[in-house]
C-alpha cells in the first residue's frame, strides 16, 4: 500500500468516525432485559419493563403503604428468626414518611420543613 493510499484511508477513517460521533449513537448488546438497545447518549433512559401487569391476589391484610405512626410498632410473630437482612432493633419505633411542609424553591428547603420532590 502506498503512502498516498494510507493517507486517504486515514482521512476516510477520521471522517467516518466524526460522522459516527456526530450521530451520537451507541450500539450495545441486548442484555435480556430489552434495555441496552434502547439506551442512547443524552437524556432519557428508555427502559421498557418486562413484567406483564399481572395483579391480584392481594389478601385482606396485604398492605403496601407506609406506616402512619403515632401508635405502637406492630410486631411480626416470628421477629428474631432468620432473615436475609439485619432487622431494626426491637426498641426502634416504626418511622413514617416525612410530614413537614415544603419551603420555597424547587426541591430545596430544610429537613422536615423544606421543599421536596415528593415526600418519599
Amino acid at each position: 500500500m502506498t503512502a498516498r493510499r494510507i493517507g486517504w484511508s486515514a482521512m476516510a477513517i477520521v471522517a467516518g468516525c466524526s460522522l459516527l460521533l456526530s450521530a451520537g449513537c451507541v450500539a450495545t448488546a441486548d442484555d435480556g432485559y430489552g434495555y441496552a438497545p434502547n439506551v442512547s447518549v443524552g437524556i432519557g433512559l428508555g427502559y421498557y419493563d418486562q413484567y406483564g401487569g399481572d395483579y391480584g391476589g392481594w389478601g385482606p391484610d396485604y398492605g403496601v403503604g407506609p406506616w402512619r405512626g403515632g401508635g405502637p410498632r406492630p410486631r411480626r410473630g416470628d421477629a428474631g428468626g432468620g432473615h436475609g437482612f439485619r432487622p431494626a432493633p426491637a426498641s426502634r419505633a416504626m418511622p413514617s414518611i416525612p410530614s413537614g411542609a415544603r419551603a420555597g424553591g424547587r426541591g430545596g428547603g430544610g429537613r422536615g420543613g423544606g421543599g421536596g420532590h415528593g415526600g418519599h
Partner: protein, 318 residues
C-alpha cells in the same frame, strides 16, 4: 485503428486528479469539522437539575425521581395532565423525544418516548431513581451483592451521575447521585410522588440487598401466611415497602411501583378510567388508614395512587 491519444486529454487528467487530491483533504477536514460542530450547533437541551437552587442535602435511600418510557409521549402527557394536573416541557434531546413534568413549577418526573422493543415483550414503565452519594461505589456494592448492571454509570449534565441495575430478584431500579443535592424530606403535595413499593418473590433476600446498598433499616411487619411485608427506612423516615408477590400472580416479574399522592383514590381511579387507564388494583384500605390503587396508563405503564391526609387534616377531621 488510430490509437493516437489527444495529448490535451492526457494532460488534463492528471491535472484534474491533482486538483482533486489537493481539494480532498480540505473537503474531508471540512466534513469532519462540520460533523464535530453539528452536535454543538444542535446541542440537545439539558434536563433540569433536580433541586433548584442547588442544595447540599443528600438523603441516601430516598426515592428522588421517576422517569417514564412510553411509545406515545403526547398520549402520556394528555393522560397525566388530565389526571394529576401536570404540565410538560418538551425538550429537544438530540433525537430523543423527552419531556419534563412539573406540578406548580416543581419537577415531578421525566417522560421519554421510545418505540416498543421488537417482539412486543416490553412494557412501558416508570423507572424509580434512588439517591446515592457515589454511583460507582454503589455499582460495586450492587454487583457484589448479586445485582446485574443494565446501564453503566454515566454523567448527565446538570443532573448528576446515574446507573441502572436489576436487583438479585430482577426488579429494575436506578441510582442517582444528584449534582444539585437531593430534594428535602417534606410531605408530598397531592399530584406528587409520595411512596414506593418493591414487589418481589423473596423480600427477605431483596431487603438484605438494598440494606447493603443503601444502608436501610428494615422493619418486619406482621402478615398472615407466608407473605412478607417489610418497611425500608433511612434517616428515620420510611422510604419504601417490600412485599411478597402474591402467589396467584405467577406471571408477574419482580418490580418497583411508585405512588402519587391523591386526596380521594376512588375519584381518581374513576378519572383515570375516563382518561383511558386500566384498573389493576381497585381502591382498597391500606395500613396507613387511606386507600391505595394501582392503574395502568393508556400505554400500559403502571402507576400507584395513595391517599394521604396531612396531620393537620386529620386533626380537623377529628
Amino acid at each position: 485503428m488510430n490509437l493516437a491519444v489527444d495529448s490535451s486529454l492526457v494532460a488534463r487528467r492528471p491535472r484534474a486528479g491533482s486538483r482533486w487530491r489537493a481539494i480532498a483533504p480540505g473537503l474531508v477536514a471540512a466534513m469532519a469539522g462540520a460533523a464535530c460542530l453539528a452536535p454543538a450547533i444542535a446541542a440537545p437541551e439539558r434536563v433540569p437539575a433536580l433541586v433548584e437552587p442547588r442544595g447540599e442535602e443528600h438523603h441516601v435511600g430516598k426515592v428522588i425521581f421517576e422517569e417514564l418510557v412510553t411509545p406515545d409521549l403526547a398520549g402520556a402527557e394528555r393522560f397525566y395532565a388530565g389526571l394529576f394536573g401536570w404540565s410538560f416541557q418538551d425538550l429537544d434531546a438530540g433525537g430523543t423525544r423527552y419531556a419534563t413534568a412539573t406540578l406548580d413549577g416543581r419537577l415531578v418526573g421525566g417522560l421519554v418516548q421510545r418505540d416498543r422493543p421488537a417482539g412486543g415483550h416490553g412494557q412501558p414503565a416508570w423507572l424509580t431513581f434512588v439517591a446515592v452519594r457515589d454511583v460507582d461505589a454503589a455499582r460495586a456494592t450492587a454487583v457484589r451483592n448479586g445485582a446485574k448492571v443494565l446501564l453503566e454509570p454515566r454523567d448527565v449534565p446538570d443532573r448528576g451521575r446515574e446507573a441502572v441495575f436489576a436487583d438479585p430478584q430482577g426488579a429494575v431500579f436506578a441510582v442517582l447521585a444528584s449534582s444539585s443535592g437531593d430534594p428535602a424530606d417534606a410531605l408530598a403535595e397531592p399530584g406528587e410522588w409520595i411512596w414506593s413499593s418493591l414487589f418481589t418473590r423473596d423480600p427477605d433476600t431483596d431487603a438484605g440487598f438494598y440494606q447493603a446498598l443503601l444502608d436501610y433499616e428494615v422493619f418486619d411487619l406482621p402478615s398472615s401466611g407466608s407473605d412478607k411485608h417489610l418497611m425500608l427506612a433511612s434517616e428515620d423516615y420510611a422510604r419504601a415497602s417490600a412485599n411478597t408477590l402474591p402467589a396467584t400472580t405467577a406471571g408477574a416479574h419482580p418490580h418497583w411501583i411508585d405512588y402519587v399522592r391523591v386526596d380521594d383514590a376512588a375519584r381518581m381511579v374513576a378519572k383515570a378510567q375516563s382518561l383511558g387507564a386500566r384498573v389493576l388494583v381497585g381502591p382498597r384500605l391500606d395500613r396507613h388508614g387511606g386507600h391505595v390503587a394501582i392503574v395502568a396508563d393508556p400505554q400500559g405503564a403502571v402507576c400507584g395512587m395513595l391517599e394521604w391526609t396531612s396531620d393537620d387534616d386529620r386533626k380537623v377531621a377529628q
